[in-house]
Amino acid sequence: MAAIHYKQRIKSLQSLIALLLLCIVLTILTDKFFTADNGLNVLRQTAVNICIATGMTLVVLTAGIDLSVGSVLALCGAIAAGLLKNGIALQATDTYIGFTILGVILVAIIVGAVLGWFNGFVITKFNVPPFVATLAMLTIARGFTMLYTKGQPISNLGAKFAFIGAGSFLGIPVPVWIALAVVLIAAFITRQTRLGRYIYAIGGNETAARFSGINISAVKMIVYALAGAMAAIGGIIVTSRLDSAQPNAGSSYELDAIAAVVIGGTSLSGGRGTIWGTVMGAIIIGVLNNGLVLLNVSPFWQQVVKGAVILLAVIIDKLDKKD
């Protein structure tokens, strides 16, 4: 009994231990790693991935996947930038609607949630595999981003808006605060709410969940909507940090998010994993990126190392499950 608990605790700390080891090694190898500046830098760079990966975790816990988050991020970021800069001008009635910063943030999050909800709708109502449905959305959302931006960046959004991505509050970058809020909300959902319990039940055994009277479609649609909303939040941060909405922003971000989820110990077959693990996974990827740069490792090798770490994480997880 005690042994089992001990083992479970070790397991939940596994990714934290890996992260600490990584940090120790980098501290020894380079004197620039272990500084407050660099630490905040890593967190600032990781914040966007934490937001996206948190949403991705909810989806993966239901045994799904969301490949569209990178494109959704780009579209929502572009809409936020476009509305902030140009508002909506209705020529027919000769009216102009301007948007506050809070207004564009709200609109972007709602658009992200609706796109995500649509993913969930297609997946549950037409029985389309999540891989395919969200792959289609990846292309569709990217296409709309190109249409909306006409393929050009939307830049110069003002100092106030730039504060979201580049500013600091109490000495900590604003994106880190935002990511923290997203993580706390998601952790609350998974641990303390009915929705969270249903997410684990559906991922663990969808048939049993259905037999128990859980509305599978509703839960999945909410989960994909949350993932879309969190991607939108990532989009706002990215747009603000660059002071520009790039039409090709967020390309392949879904892969980093999935990597964080997997390294964090969440099972791709659903039902098992934690938000905490994903946060660790995202930070491990961030530290690894940062450390490899500091060590002057060529960008090409960086990709190889990152891939190897993902493989290692999954293999350790599999070996662990065997006994």
């Binding site: 709410t193 249903y198 663990g204 049993a208 009277g213």
Partner: protein, 501 residues
């Protein structure tokens, strides 16, 4: 001739076959009959190399054989055609027949022409007028069965075991199958025929062997026995069964099921459940007995809202008609199901005991409609773990790590927490040890005494007799008997359960 001598097979303490002797004659149709659980399947799995651990000998063509795999049995000439056919739907007939033994040309490439022409000859033999490159998914069940036979012929099988071959095919296809059986007989093959349909057995079989409770009771020529005698031999049991007879009168209708039918999704025009009606009263335990494939599970699944597009009929709870199109609706109406397969349908094995018990009542545990009150949840789980005597190390122990009996108790606890009006239990004690079984019986009786209506589906006659106040028997999708338990006997239940025409 194939002789099995003193075959004994044990599963984790349970004896499935006890010293069974079997003789299969060449050029004859050898029928093997017995109730569910009599050991027919186990015996066939030993003959065909599925089970490799057993005591006893198999003598085939004068030599002692012992197969280490199904492939070895197949190579030796023993083929089994399972009830659930084993063909790959997206491959062609020829590709299926040559699966794993593909012919190649001198370049190492697949020799499709040769395989197709070979297949064509085989299909002619089984009178199946189709091109060898037809996809299996385009075939009807009966045609797929013929492909399986062609596959067996291709493997030069001398023993062909057919498990319930007519359970899913039309009368015309049955005639077709019988003609082929006659041909195979004439060629001197050993046909093993397993069926619940007595009429077929008396029409086609030459010899019979009766299995009961894992032992061979008797065997002989079909011509020397009558239908009544055969049923008697299948049923006759030494143990005295304790019936649940009481003076209580149940007259307050709780669940009325009216004209429930369920279409067969695989075979348009046929029905898995045909026009079934019955009433379950408050506090009553209804036992539903039937053989495999009688439509029992399909009936309660239809009541539970699992086949919204295919099922029809009326369900009335306490006088109010209910439209049940999903399990959630059934549960809202007070109908709850303990499903047949607790691991696949009843539990989230990767979640802890507590979370499985509370999953259906989370709404009641919510505070301010927002977060779950964990203290309430823990208390609830604690109550039910005590009440049902669930043996678990802690509330967080994964359900996967509990024994079958304790897992089943979790599923029952889940519904008790939700206060069911009607509890449907499908094979509630399958794979559960004797101790846990009697605990579950006690629980069911106590539940009924509080006014819950209980419907127990079971393949075991003793179980039905031990639990039920009233007995229903199903056969081929229809209710064939509805009687008080006092009138029910093993013989009349079995008679009602066996297809006769």
């Amino acid at each position: 001739m194939l002789i099995a001598r003193n075959i004994t097979k044990k599963f984790a303490g349970v004896t499935a076959l006890n010293n069974v002797n079997l003789e299969l004659h060449a050029g004859k149709v050898n029928a093997i009959v017995g109730e569910n659980g009599a050991g027919k399947s186990t015996l066939m799995k030993i003959l065909s190399g599925v089970y490799t651990q057993y005591e006893g000998d198999i003598i085939f063509k004068g030599n002692k054989v012992r197969f280490a795999s199904t492939r070895e049995a197949e190579d030796a000439g023993i083929a089994i055609i399972h009830q659930e056919l084993n063909l790959v739907p997206h491959l062609t007939i020829a590709e299926n027949i040559f699966l794993g033994k593909e012919l190649t040309n001198s370049w190492g490439m697949l020799d499709k022409a040769k395989m197709n022409s070979h297949t064509k000859r085989l299909l002619e033999k089984v009178n199946l007028n189709l091109r060898p490159d037809t996809l299996i998914s385009k075939l009807k069940v009966g045609q797929q069965q013929l492909v399986e036979i062609a596959k067996a012929l291709h493997a030069n099988a001398e023993v062909i075991i057919m498990d319930e071959p007519t359970s899913a095919i039309t009368d015309k296809e049955v005639d077709h199958l019988f003609a082929i059986i006659d041909e195979l007989k004439a060629e001197g093959k050993i046909i093993v025929y397993i069926s619940h349909k007595l009429k077929e057995l008396f029409l086609k079989a030459d010899r019979y062997t009766v299995l009961r409770d894992g032992a061979d009771i008797t065997s002989g020529d079909m011509s020397t026995i009558s239908q009544e005698e055969l049923v008697e031999k299948m049923a006759g049991r030494k143990v005295v069964i304790e019936k649940n007879i009481s003076d209580a009168i149940y007259n307050e209708p709780l669940l009325q099921v009216k004209n429930i039918s369920l279409k067969n999704a695989q075979d348009a025009g046929s029905y898995l459940v045909k026009d079934v009606s019955f009433t379950l009263h408050k506090g009553e335990i209804l036992g539903l007995y039937g053989l495999m494939g009688a439509g029992r599970t399909e009936l309660i699944e239809t009541i539970y809202g699992l086949h919204p597009g295919l099922g029809k009929g009326e369900i009335v709870i306490e006088g109010a008609p209910k439209k049940i199109t999903a399990p959630a609706r059934a549960i809202a109406s007070g109908i709850m199901l303990v499903p047949e397969d607790r691991k696949l349908q009843g539990l989230c094995l990767g979640l802890g005991v507590r979370k499985n018990i509370s999953v259906a009542v989370l709404k009641q545990l919510e505070e301010n409609g927002l977060f779950l009150n964990m203290r309430k949840e823990t208390a609830l789980a604690k109550d039910y773990i005590q009440l049902l005597n669930i043996k678990t190390a802690s509330q967080n122990t994964l359900s996967r790590n509990l024994s079958g009996g304790n897992q089943q108790k979790i599923v029952i606890a889940k519904w008790l927490a939700k206060n069911p009006k009607v509890l449907l239990l499908d094979e509630p004690t399958r794979g559960i040890d004797v101790g846990a079984k009697s605990e579950i019986y006690k629980l069911i009786r106590e539940l009924a005494s509080t006014g819950v209506g209980v419907l127990v589906v079971s393949s075991e006659i003793p179980e039905v007799l031990a639990l039920a106040n009233r007995v229903l028997v199903m056969c081929e999708g229809e209710i064939t008997a509805d009687m008080p338990v006092a009138d029910a006997t093993e013989a009349n239940m079995l008679t009602s359960a066996i297809h006769k025409n």
